[in-house]
């Protein structure tokens, strides 16, 4: 049993922090923000190069920078932060000591060494292979080895999380079932284990190939297994993001889920229906049967999409119901009008939800449709899609949570609180612009990962329509806005951690950091519906989805016949 001196109770939220776990959360979160900073600067350089009027970097620098950008943000920023979330949702929410902090530090060290070594490999210049590192284009052996080290470290983090759940159960630190947010994190961890195993299965032979021990890695096999890692890991991000949505709904509004059953079942769908999600990435690859593709992208009824659509309703729905219970019960939208729009934890989550759903979700389903993928595959539409899901959706949700963690976990006052109010909007609008204009250019056929769509110096060239150039220019402007938003975040958080007024470890603060939980939604809403406003918003979403979906079938029908 752990001794009580190893714990502290947060005077504001009543949360019980295990001190060794707290140190690990801080370390992982801080390192995550550093990688976001590095990756964000690289993103700026990449964006300014794809803005045709600026065209900042030279060709080989561009490909190097793009490789480094993708890995630093998509892998290092996101996963370091997710490990912090795993420790918070297990140790803190279950009021339990963290299982084996020493193993957790080992995992942290491996991840850090892997991340730094990978940057060294990329910046040395002969590993500009993009984060997908498709064979047989070779990278330095260190490139694969460093990613394997990082993966092993992350895997240790997942097992420490699972171990903590076991300890909590054995030591009876909580009663009944684990909290919904922990359940969401558990979903993420289970998917992560599957995912990282796939990553290892493909990266280890690729590493052996790069040092000459294996003569050949089959490119189709590589793509299928690599994407079992690459795509499924996006499901980790979605699950972690949704868990953060629920968490912020709880601390900001005292919201309880509309029903535990539905929200938990939706998390379960993520685990059950993602295994062969790599199908989305090989829809136009040679030799893969249509039956296999159709089945594995949809499981006959799009159950993973259904899960996200459910969370997309239940999170704002529970916020709405909680707001109504507090008295904002008038009409359809009083609850939304009276929401704390100046609180970056709330606005961050709300923007994350909207951008993830409307831009990321719809575009993802559309381009993951077997035939429609023909007009989208590998165009800049694809990065457009995932800047909406992971760069706006997940990243904004994590930023939002960080604003709350500064006083609660780090016990510091937020400084520049005035700027912090605006930060989620600047980043959210900038990133939406990046996503939308990339998608627009992609619809016109502009390729992704491409240094110069004017093809200067090529033996033959292609003239893209001027609209494509305009859209890339607008994307460039949005890039600048998004980077300002991201830069503000790093500035506010880092300076708060360094210079923010220290909060007492024992005394309650003046402002409240957690809202009293609502216990029942009885008597709120309109008619029999507790969340009618959210339902209307959901119908607006559905209308946009249906229209956009069929517009793309129309685009498809206008091109050459293929059979």
């Amino acid at each position: 049993m752990a001794t009580t001196t190893e714990f502290r109770t947060c005077p504001d939220t009543g949360l019980l922090f295990h001190k060794p776990a707290e140190k690990l959360m801080k370390a992982n979160a801080v390192v995550a923000v550093v990688f976001l900073l590095v990756g964000g600067i690289l993103g700026l350089l990449v964006g300014l190069t794809r803005w045709p009027a600026v065209h900042l970097l030279g060709d080989s620098d561009f490909y190097l920078t793009l490789t480094a950008h993708g890995i630093n943000v998509l892998i290092f920023w996101i996963i370091f932060f997710e490990i912090a979330v795993l420790y918070f949702t297990s140790s803190t929410l279950l009021k339990c000591r963290l299982a084996t902090p020493r193993m957790a530090w080992l995992g942290f060290a491996l991840m850090l060494i892997g991340a730094v070594a990978n940057n060294i490999a990329v910046f040395q210049g002969n590993s500009s292979v993009m984060f997908t590192s498709y064979v047989p284009m070779p990278a330095d052996p260190l490139f694969y080895l460093s990613l394997i080290l990082f993966a092993v470290g992350a895997l240790i983090g997942c097992f420490v999380f699972l171990g903590t759940l076991v300890v909590a159960r054995a030591e009876r630190t909580y009663e009944g079932s684990i909290p919904l947010v922990t359940f969401g994190a558990l979903t993420a961890a289970i998917i992560a284990i599957f995912t990282i195993a796939s990553g290892a299965i493909i990266l280890i032979p690729t590493f052996l190939w790069s040092v000459g021990l294996i003569s050949n890695v089959d490119p189709i096999m590589y793509r299928v297994i690599w994407w079992a890692f690459g795509h499924s890991s996006q499901q980790i991000n979605v699950a972690a993001m949704v868990a953060v949505w629920y968490a912020v709904a709880a601390v900001g509004f005292g919201a309880k889920p509309l029903s535990e059953k539905v929200s938990r079942a939706a998390f379960l769908l993520y685990i059950l229906f993602l295994q062969l999600a790599s199908a989305h990435h090989i829809l136009v690859d040679p030799g893969i049967s249509s039956t296999w593709k159709i089945f594995n992208t949809s499981y006959a009824m799009y159950l993973a999409v259904l899960a996200s659509m459910i969370h997309g309703l239940t999170v704002p729905g529970s916020i709405e119901a909680a707001q109504r219970k507090r008295g904002f019960n008038k009409g359809l939208f009083e609850w939304l009008r009276k929401a704390p729009w100046g609180n970056p934890a709330f606005s961050g989550v709300f923007l994350s939800l909207i951008i993830f759903g409307f831009l990321g979700g719809i575009s993802g389903v559309v381009m993951g449709t077997e035939q429609i993928n023909l007009i989208i595959h590998n165009t800049i539409y694809v990065p457009g899609h995932f800047h909406a899901t992971v760069a706006a959706g997940t990243t904004l949700a994590f930023m939002a949570l960080t604003y709350w963690l500064v006083p609660v976990l780090f016990r510091r006052d937020l400084i520049m609180a005035g700027l912090a109010k605006w930060q989620p909007y600047i980043f959210g609008i900038g990133m939406s612009g990046v996503a939308l204009f990339m998608m627009g250019a992609g619809t016109l056929g502009v390729p992704r990962r491409h240094w110069d769509i004017a093809f200067s110096g090529g033996a033959m060239t292609h003239d893209f329509p001027t609209t494509a150039y305009t859209l890339l220019g607008l994307m460039g402007v949005s890039v600048v806005l998004a980077v300002i938003g991201g830069g503000l975040f790093v500035l506010i958080i880092v300076s708060s951690l360094l210079f923010g007024k220290r909060k007492s470890m024992t005394q309650k603060s003046a402002e409240s950091l957690i809202v009293e939980p609502v216990t029942s939604y009885q008597g709120v809403g309109i008619g029999k519906m507790v969340a009618p406003g959210t339902f209307v918003l959901a119908l607006v979403f559905l209308t946009a989805f249906v229209l956009y979906y069929f517009v793309n079938w129309k685009y498809l029908s206008e091109t050459w016949g293929i059979s």
């Binding site: 060709d59 490909y63 929410l93 498709y134 047989p136 284009m137 009663e175 009944g176 079932s177 909290p179 919904l180 089959d218 490119p219 189709i220 793509r223 968490a247 601390v251 005292g254 509309l258 029903s259 535990e260 059953k261 539905v262 136009v284 040679p286 030799g287 949809s298 006959a300 799009y302 259904l306 309703l313 389903v365 077997e370 035939q371 023909l374 007009i375 595959h377 590998n378 165009t379 619809t443 056929g445 390729p447 769509i453 093809f455 090529g458 033996a459 033959m460 060239t461 893209f464 329509p465 939980p517 216990t519 507790v530 339902f535 079938w553 029908s557 050459w560 016949g561 293929i562 059979s563």
Partner: protein, 180 residues
């Protein structure tokens, strides 16, 4: 209780579901089924479907077949590098080689006629992106993919590479001319 604490109702799975949730799940599920049906439906009525015909091959074997076609049907050459322009008979098998950093050869096709296009790479992965028709296919070494294409408008088309393939990636452009 909130989402941060264990459910206050220990038997939470017996709690009723909110009406708004049931309604939305029903709608979302129906929409999922519609989207699923669209894919097989398009295989029946649509004109844009991949056949998924493909073979294992080697760069040498594929290059040989392409060379034979080029020797037979070249009508002229273009540019400093004497790129062959090939006019194959309608309905025939045509071979396009992807290599660092060319699409070889150039084709001259007839509008409205069908051709069996074979694609394979000599080296790394490439992306066949036909512009402005915007048809995008993955091209891999060791695999020969066959698709039947039917141009629906005359004009000059470009094949842009949209799978990153090294430092010449942004110079890898090929041509297909479609004549009335």
């Amino acid at each position: 209780m909130s989402t941060l604490a264990p459910p206050s109702e220990r038997l939470w799975w017996k709690e009723p579901i909110e009406k708004v949730e049931i309604l939305w799940i029903a709608i979302a599920l129906s929409w999922g089924i519609v989207m699923f049906i669209m894919m097989p439906y398009w295989h029946v009525v649509g004109k844009q479907n991949l056949s998924n015909e493909a073979y294992k091959t080697t760069p040498e074997a594929f290059q040989k077949k392409a060379q034979a076609m080029v020797d037979k049907y070249t009508v002229r050459t273009e540019g400093e590098r004497q790129f062959p322009v090939v006019r194959p008979p309608a309905g025939s098998d045509i071979y396009m080689v992807a290599r660092l950093w060319d699409w070889w050869p150039i084709f001259e096709l007839e509008n409205g006629k069908s051709y069996r296009l074979h694609l394979s790479s000599m080296d790394w992965q490439h992306g066949f992106s036909l512009q402005p028709a915007n048809i995008n296919l993955q091209v891999l070494p060791g695999y020969e993919m066959v698709v039947t294409i039917t141009p629906n408008k005359a004009g000059e088309y470009s094949v842009v590479c949209n799978e990153y393939c090294g430092i010449g990636h942004h110079k890898m452009v090929g041509k297909i001319y479609v004549k009335e």
